[in-house]
Amino acid sequence: MVRKKIAYILGFIALFFICFLCFHKIFSFKDGDGSFVMKSFYELEDNSVDVLILGTSHVFEGINPAILWEDLGVTSYDLCGSMTPMWNSYYYLEEALKKQTPQLVILDAFSLVPVFEEFSHASKYIKNTFGLRPSETKINAIKETTGEEWVSYALEYMQYHNRYSELSDIDFYPYRNDEPMFGTWLGYARNYTVLPFEEQYYDNQYMCMDLVEKEEEYYRKIITLCQEEEIPLLIIAVPYAGYSEADMYFMNSGAMIAEELGVPFVDFNLYRDVLGVDASTDYADFNHLSYIGSDRFTHYLARYLAANYVLPTHNKSDAKYMRWNQAYAYYVRDNFNHDIRLVEDVDSYWNLLHSLPNTYEIIINVPGKYNAENSTNVNDMTTDSDNAESSTKTTEVWLLRSGNASLLTETRYGYYYKKQLGHNELVVDENVMLWKREEIQFPSHAGTKVMVFDVSNQCVVDAVVIEKNVIYRVTEE
């Protein structure tokens, strides 16, 4: 009888535990910004990071670890989330040092500038603690952010259980849709938006403004922690378009404290001309660098580090550093894909598609008769499709791979083409292409529809409609 009761209780506990685990896996936050960056950091091999970079979105949109790897052979990681205050960075550092022994810590000082009203909003910060593993550090980080309500945030389910209204298939996979953004970039996020700005320079470079007390406290604590751990610390300010005179005064205050504590502080906003920042191309918005600016700044930073620090260089074929090799390969490929999206001329576009290697698959939907035999000119397609109304209304779907086009026939299931990549599926219908269960809906009227899929980076590179020799893009970056 007693055994039966014990078995009953144990069975109940086990089943409940399994259910709760599933609940946690499905419902927990998986955002690239905040939670995933830290989770991804834990997956790195112990003691594999040479340069740990802390800060706000200025860092994760400004410093690309893949470039530092290529230029210097050093391993780095952007351990930050958007709107990260100094106390989040402090606890990130504390947590990071449990697994890593960086040779250098770089801290972006932007959070010393109290620019946004939202910046004082706890919910913006708390997300940065969700990725931390349960520990005293995590509890302290939450306490510092939420005060008396910390328990309900420490028990994260009290926050994420509400997500039932926004669950999607991606919640049932390990990571979210933006996995490559953070997973492959080592904390970095590439911003392809380009907004032209006018560069501003200010004269009075010696004035200071009082820092927010709590920011200053943790700013000092980061410096002290690095000194205690005997890790060199470099405090910087990544350039940004919205750098104002007031911002400069706050940075000056940060610089004074750094000087007082014997730590180098470089506000790169003051050296934009030295960096060669081009205000017409290098900014994505008021606060962030564009992909062009980010590349420029990271290359400069690499040179700066090479000139001022002795950092280890690694054998790039060492399996321990595979993640950095992957990141660089991904970076190169992503740049190339971006270039594909910039092509506006139909002939050039068609030639480019024919020259792509077999790691690209191009689906072409021609709403009219098209003879692909030996054809390398998209005009054949577009001409036909433009005249589809008058000639024939037969729709043809083609697969172009390594320059060779093959006609796809409608399967008895109704689709033309299907490809399984991991747990994701690429499905091509007559007017719809489905990737990661998200539809790329083409307009159903005349025009040749083209979708370029990158098998190695596993992403839709481009989706266009070509009509009357003009390319209309269906997807946006």
Binding site: K5, Y8, G11, F12, L15, F16, C19, F20, F23, F27, F29, D31, G32, D33, G34, S57, E61, S82, M83, H121, S123, K124, I126, K127, F130, T146, E149, V151, S152, Y153, L155, Y157, M158, Q159, H161, N162, R163, Y164, S165, E166, A189, N191, T193, A284, D285, H288
Partner: protein, 500 residues
């Protein structure tokens, strides 16, 4: 400390563990300490109030017990009665001061206003002590029971103090009788750990949490939205708001009682049932036999019957009914809306009783089959409409709002909202609405089980096969985890901030 709080999630296991570990003789002391701690979590100072009430009624009970007199001793009986009156007056005085003094001053101002006076009386800033209405009535029932000789006065102060402050039912009932709870406390040393009973109690508590967190708190969003801005809504939405409030107050109130009964069961105590599928009642009279049973029986035993009950003719019976329900309304809250609510219930019963012969005649004349579903359903429906109508007064901020709310139901009919998506503008999204509907279907099934088979959900689940037990219990817990309304208020989107 609410039952659905994290604090209680820590507090309760500690109390239960301690209760079964410490020597049996000290159990009531342990529970007393736990109960006072529980109460002091709201307001430590007000623990002094419950302590004073306890001391006073305890001493009163002893004195009443000592002055118990034999029949025929008129002087002794007068003294006996006088002591009871003093105990009642002091306790009701404390309750009156905290709950009704500002209300009385408002009435004085209003009456003065009728005579053209602009009198304004400064109101005291009084914070109503949690559960004062409940424990005062519980203590009073003890004093009256001792006076009547139904029970012997409790000599052990700590046991009596535990009776008054027993934490599972301290703040929201059920209002226990000394004959039931005090006798169990006296025998607490004999309570043995019974895993089946403990498990049953825990399952009962889970069901209570489901009622509160999944249904009541979700309905509250809808109800608050409609009642707070009732002037933005048409008749259909206002009817839905009133129906939703009927369900909300039931789930809210019943959840507390259910959790109290479950918690007490875990500790080996049996509290009285407080709700018995009230909306299945076929008359208002029957409704009051299944709604807040501990209070309605309290009023029946200690007010209605002493007033004469139905023993002094029809007119007196009706008067007694009206008085009882008016006071019941006042017990629920210090406001005219509560008095009207109580008055309506009294009136329903008076009219129902007065028209009973006529109704019977009609039924006979029209050969209406009273033993079929349609007749019962009609009665059930009419009862619900009457009860729900009264709930409008209970929920409305003031009497004017209540009347305007009712007026708008009849003058602003807008049935098109049933089909044009207007229902989703009442405060709940489509998904939330669907969750609510499913939860209400479960509630309906459970209440039907109780109504038809007189069986509690915990008893029903625990007599099933193991797989079904697991399915129900874990299903309920996970439903609470996922769909419960809890956690710090935040906008989920605020966490998904990513702005390039």
């Amino acid at each position: 400390m609410l039952f659905n709080s994290l604090e209680f999630l820590l507090f309760f296991p500690i109390v239960v563990l301690g209760y079964y570990i410490i020597p049996k003789k000290a159990r009531y002391i342990w529970l007393l300490i736990g109960s006072y701690y529980f109460y002091m979590c709201w307001n430590a100072v007000y623990a002094l109030l419950i302590l004073s009430s306890t001391i006073f009624t305890y001493l009163g009970g002893l004195v009443i017990g000592k002055t118990a007199v034999k029949e025929g001793n008129i002087a002794g009986r007068k003294k006996h009665k006088l002591i009871l009156v003093i105990v009642l007056l002091v306790n009701l005085g404390i309750l009156g001061y905290f709950k009704y003094s500002n209300f009385l001053l408002e009435i004085v101002e209003s009456v003065a206003g009728l005579f053209g006076s602009t009198l304004t009386i400064r109101k005291a800033d009084i914070l109503l002590p949690v559960g004062i209405s409940f424990y005062t009535f519980q203590a009073l029932s003890y004093s009256i029971d001792v006076y009547r000789g139904d029970i012997r006065p409790e000599k052990n102060f700590f046991k009596y103090a535990l009776f008054v402050s027993f934490f599972p039912q301290l703040v929201a009932g059920p209002i226990e009788r000394s004959k039931n709870l005090l006798s169990q406390i006296q025998q607490s040393e004999t309570i043995r750990f019974d895993s089946h009973r403990v498990w049953n109690g825990l399952v009962t508590m889970v069901w209570g949490l489901f009622l509160k967190m999944v249904i009541a708190d979700r309905l509250a969003i809808l109800v608050d939205n409609i009642f707070d801005k009732y002037y933005f809504f048409g008749g259909v939405e206002l009817i839905i708001g009133a129906v939703a409030f009927a369900l909300q107050i039931y789930c809210d109130f019943a959840s507390y009682s259910t959790m109290a009964i479950g918690a007490a069961k875990v500790l080996g105590f049996t509290l009285m049932e407080n709700f018995d599928a009230p909306y299945f009642a076929l008359s208002v009279k029957e409704f009051w036999r299944s709604w807040h049973i501990s209070l309605s029986t309290w009023f029946r035993d200690y007010l209605y019957i002493p007033l004469g009950g139905n023993r002094r003719g029809k007119a007196r019976k009706h008067l007694n009914l009206l008085v009882t329900f008016l006071i019941s309304g006042l017990w629920h809250g210090a406001g005219l809306t509560f008095i009207i609510w109580g008055g309506l219930h009294g009136l329903y019963q008076v009219i129902g009783d007065a028209l009973l012969p006529e109704r019977k005649k009609i039924v006979k004349k029209l050969h209406i089959n009273t033993d079929c579903f349609s007749h019962k359903f009609l009665k059930m429906f009419i009862t619900f409409v009457l009860v729900d109508f009264a709930w409008i007064f209970f929920r409305a901020d003031n009497v004017l709002v209540a009347f305007d709310y009712i007026r708008r139901i009849f003058t602003g009919m807008n049935p098109w909202v049933l089909t044009n998506g207007g229902l989703l503008k009442m405060g709940l999204s489509g998904l939330e609405f669907n969750i609510l509907m499913v939860a209400l279907v479960i509630l309906f099934a459970v209440d039907l089980l109780k109504y038809r088979r007189k069986k509690n959900i915990a008893d029903f689940i625990l007599e099933q096969n193991v797989w079904f037990q697991y399915l129900c219990i874990i299903g309920l817990i996970m439903t609470i985890f996922v769909f419960g309304v809890y956690g710090a208020t935040y906008d989920a989107k605020a966490f998904i901030y990513f702005q390039f």
